[in-house]
């Protein structure tokens, strides 16, 4: 260990203490709400096939988990009704101010609920942590102050595109145009000073969300933004096995064309036969702590960023 590393780590102490406090408060929140903390495997044979999420092969036909989502839903299918997990997730090739190939994910799931209930959970969770995380949190970001306690923003994907990008995405928008405008024109406007919920995605951007009953062009999916930063992605879960299989097949085809060979998550698909209506969400712990800390990147709130890991 050289002097430089000692200096950097010592400089992070305040942020790592805040991180520990936030993790403790998250657990207290979910315990109080009656959720059961779960641990699922980090090594898995079949991560959910999603075109833009690349799993890291771990040898022996296994992959490092890209998210605990499929295991969590297998537990729901067995009747666990309120569960949460805090764990590392691994995604190849992701490295930036807000991305590490290994990051900490918080996921929670509710049987018999939909994405609106999860939005309420987000509000209660964020406020609960901010209330108790101690003085000195949520310092100014540039000239902007962050406020979790005022009324939260809410906008549909359709309205956000119309307002900030000048066009309306239909059920299957051009993926390149959708992603580019989302990053460059929409995200920078969301979540000042209070968090903002961006909801009702086009069906083509549904991921593992169910479509809105009575509106097959819209998925019951939302993302939580704060200070222009995506904090969470949640949805009313798709529970229909044949529709889920069809979506995976489309994803696998696309991934094969790009040279990867993902496995079909058969055990998960089987469990869907028993899965009642439910909702689940993934929440970025590193980014949340970064915002609490008033830091500019997640490197600041992670003891060992990838380059020195």
């Amino acid at each position: 260990m050289n002097g430089r590393e000692r200096e950097i780590l010592a400089g992070k102490k305040r942020f790592l203490e805040l991180r520990a406090r936030a993790l403790g408060l998250i657990r207290i929140f979910f315990d109080r709400e009656g959720f059961l903390e779960i641990q699922t495997p980090a090594l898995t044979t079949a991560p959910a096939p999603e075109p833009h999420i690349k799993a890291i092969a771990a040898g022996g036909g296994r992959f490092l988990s890209t998210s605990p989502e499929l295991y969590m839903k297998r537990l729901l299918a067995a009747g666990f009704d309120k569960i949460y997990q805090i764990c590392p997730a691994f995604r190849s090739g992701e490295r930036g101010r807000l991305h590490h190939p290994e990051f900490t994910i918080l996921e929670w799931y509710r049987l018999g609920a939909d994405y609106k209930t999860l939005q309420d959970d987000c509000l209660k969770l964020v406020r609960s942590v901010c209330e108790s995380a101690g003085p000195g949190i949520l310092q100014r970001r540039g000239d902007r102050v962050l406020d979790p306690f005022g009324d939260w923003g809410r906008i549909t994907v359709r309205d956000a595109f119309e307002r900030f990008a000048g066009w309306v995405p239909e059920a299957n928008p051009d993926q390149d145009r959708f992603d580019t405008d989302l990053v460059e024109k929409i995200e920078p406007n969301l979540g000042f000073p209070t968090p903002c919920i961006l909801e009702d995605y086009p069906a083509g951007q549904a991921a593992l969300a169910r479509l809105k009953p009575g509106d097959q062009e819209t998925a019951e999916r939302f993302e939580l933004y704060w200070a222009g930063i995506e904090l969470a992605n949640g949805f009313s879960e798709l529970t229909e096995p044949s529709e889920q299989r069809a979506r995976f097949e489309t994803a696998i085809k696309q991934m094969q064309a790009e040279g990867t060979r993902p496995n079909m998550p058969e055990a998960f698909l089987e469990s869907l036969e028993y899965l009642a209506p439910c909702a689940g969400i993934a929440f970025g712990v590193d980014r949340f702590v970064m915002l609490l800390a008033g830091a500019d990147d997640i490197d600041s709130v992670v003891a060992f960023p990838p380059e020195i890991a």
Binding site: H52, G96, L98, F178, D179, V183, Q205, N233
Partner: protein
């Protein structure tokens, strides 16, 4: 042709060839919206013209790294618009237009060893050593008695360029100059 790079290889400082010209990534941000694709947002600077622009790349995009190399050269002479240099390993002579030499000409004297940046074998930039020693060809004597620290006077170098030197430095003396700041460092005993 340089090595083939993918979008995942891009970083701040990466040098790319775009439309036959070398570009430096001066700012870089990795973005990935929700379940969407990775976007690699770059600010690029043309290494010849200095012109900057922003461009966003995607995962499938491929690039050629810019075919750049540094070569040690000795400066020979200039005929006004063209500077002549000699490669110190191959003894091959090259020419550089004055606008590519730029401000380096302020401190460039014959036989100085410099580093030349080549793009596909063509010179596009010249880097001086961090310190050069140059003779002062003209400088009025400092006013007697004015010894307040920080006092300086103009002095013309043998290249014709004028710098500020302390009052005690005299015409005909050799001084060391930091070429990165363009400032006087110390007097050199000759």
């Amino acid at each position: 042709m340089g090595a083939v790079l993918t979008a995942g290889d891009l970083r701040k400082g990466t040098k790319l060839e775009i439309d036959g010209e070398p570009y430096l990534i001066t700012d870089f941000e990795f973005s990935k919206p929700g379940k969407g694709q990775a976007l690699y947002r770059c600010r690029l600077r043309n290494m010849i013209t200095g012109i900057q622009f922003d461009r966003t790349y995607r995962s499938g995009d491929k690039f050629n790294s810019a075919d750049l190399e540094e070569q040690g050269m000795q400066y020979l002479y200039n005929d006004g618009s063209v500077y002549h240099l000699m490669n110190t390993s191959s003894y091959e002579q090259i020419e550089m237009p004055a606008d590519q030499v730029g401000d380096a000409s302020n401190f460039l004297i014959e036989n100085l060893n410099v580093s030349v940046l080549l793009f596909q074998g063509r010179p596009i930039g010249l880097t001086l050593p961090n310190f050069v020693e140059l003779r002062i060809t003209k400088s009025d004597p400092g006013i007697k008695g004015d010894t307040a620290s920080g006092s300086t006077k103009p002095a013309t170098l043998e290249t014709g360029y004028v710098i500020q030197v302390p009052l005690f430095v005299e015409e005909g003396e050799v001084v060391r100059i930091d070429t990165r700041t363009g400032q006087y460092v110390e007097r050199v005993k000759s």
